[in-house]
């Protein structure tokens, strides 16, 4: 019985496959800009007070991905920056649009800290992952002689994110990049469930970090 269960679990993990995804990327440059050696970037996101629902996991993924993929500019982790600026970069006090930058940078202590950290750009990320629809049915049962599942379930996810690049020197947005990834995940089960998961958020994270790097290297 135990051996059967281990075998079923092993096969389930072995067959965790990636579902198909469709990716749409966009880029827009508003103003000329440059990034100099030693200047720093911070990944930011709008507050939940403003109705933003960008997941922490996504922000962490972008932070990690950008840190791994390049050595050109310095990336200050979001939480470290928030702590350094406390209480002026909390959900209630952080700038929500480029129009708020003037007031934000108008505080002497804030400006001094930002100069000390050499922060030149905020990469303001918005968006979220949503499940659009789901269907099918899957049922599992277990008894003294063993267990198993039967059925088919599937769902559609869309991960849609936009990064607005805020130049703190110009106090304006110099450009936007966006990534929208859609995919259908399926779990067919004939005794053993075989999850075929479309990792839309992970794909969006990788595509977004590539686009951000591309944006800074090409401009």
């Amino acid at each position: 019985m135990m051996q059967n269960l281990v075998f079923i679990l092993f096969l389930s993990f072995f067959f965790i496959l990636a579902g198909c995804t469709t990716t749409r990327l966009e880029e827009q440059t508003n103003l000329p800009f440059e990034i100099l050696e030693g200047e720093s970037l911070v990944i930011t996101s709008n507050s939940y007070h403003a109705g933003n629902e960008t997941e922490d996991d996504f922000l962490q993924c972008i932070n990690k991905s950008l840190a791994n993929k390049q050595k050109t500019f310095n990336l200050i982790s979001t939480q470290e920056f928030i702590n350094q600026l406390y209480p002026w970069f909390e959900p209630r006090t952080a700038p929500q649009t480029t129009e708020d930058l003037s007031d934000f940078l108008g505080k002497d202590l804030v400006r001094q800290k930002i100069e000390m950290l050499s922060v030149r750009y905020f990469l303001n990320i918005s968006g979220q992952t949503k499940t659009n629809s789901s269907s099918g049915a899957l049922s599992c049962a277990a008894g003294p002689g063993g267990g198993g599942c039967f059925g088919l379930a599937w769902w559609d996810d869309t991960s849609s994110y936009t990064t607005s690049i805020w130049d703190l020197e110009q106090e304006s947005s110099v450009g936007n990049v966006s990534a929208s990834v859609s995919g259908t995940s399926v779990i067919p089960a004939l005794i053993i469930p075989i999850p075929i998961i479309a990792r839309t958020q992970k794909t969006a994270c990788e595509e977004m970090s590539d686009q951000i790097l591309d944006f800074f290297t090409r401009n």
């Binding site: 939940y48 922490d56 350094q84 406390y86 209480p87 909390e90 209630r92 202590l109 804030v110 800290k113």
Partner: protein, 177 residues
């Protein structure tokens, strides 16, 4: 739980001595939703010294010589200009089951009474804090994060209140003299 409050980025208020008295609701608050009608597992939150740390961190950033008193007796300390009595008035928690979404939301409301050196009430402040966090990570971590955010938000509002209203308080004191 232990919420980390970073060193606040504020300008010190020199030559002013403040004493603070914390109510038991700040020193030792524990929350347990034993009356929950939603049928979900009991939620217990032990604030330990998180609230005292929050207030001390904020107040010491403005008043480096902050004195913490255990209780407010009528004794007059010649070196103290202002007394601050702080207590937690309200703690509210909304779990994902109750709100039918995927977030924990936490509200805090503090009442802070401010007395002059003659124990005359000068002002009462209501300081609130709000934090929410999605359950994308494990539920206990999301709840802890929502409480952390609410405590940090209370600190933000306390800083803003001190920066906005402290000059008015000093003005009231000087006209009373």
């Amino acid at each position: 739980m232990t919420t980390v409050i970073p060193e606040p980025l504020v300008a010190k208020i020199e030559n002013f001595n403040l004493a603070v008295i914390y109510d038991e609701t700040i020193k030792n608050y524990q929350f347990e939703n034993i009356n929950s009608e939603s049928g979900e597992a009991t939620i217990k939150i032990d604030f330990a010294n998180s609230q005292v740390n929050l207030f001390n961190k904020i107040l010491k950033s403005f008043f480096p010589e902050l004195i913490e008193l255990t209780s407010k007796n009528n004794e007059i300390y010649s070196n103290i200009d202002l007394y601050m009595e702080a207590k937690l008035e309200t703690f509210e928690l909304l779990s994902p089951t109750e709100s039918r979404n995927d977030k924990y939301a936490v509200w805090l409301k503090y009442k802070i009474d401010i007395y002059d050196h003659k124990s005359i009430l000068l002002s009462s402040w209501n300081i609130t804090g709000y934090g929410e966090h999605g359950t994308e990570s494990r539920a206990p971590e999301s709840l802890t994060r929502a409480v952390d955010l609410a405590l940090r938000d209370s600190g933000v509002n306390l800083v803003i209140k001190i920066e906005d209203d402290f000059k008015t308080l000093v003005k009231i004191m000087s006209t009373d003299l």
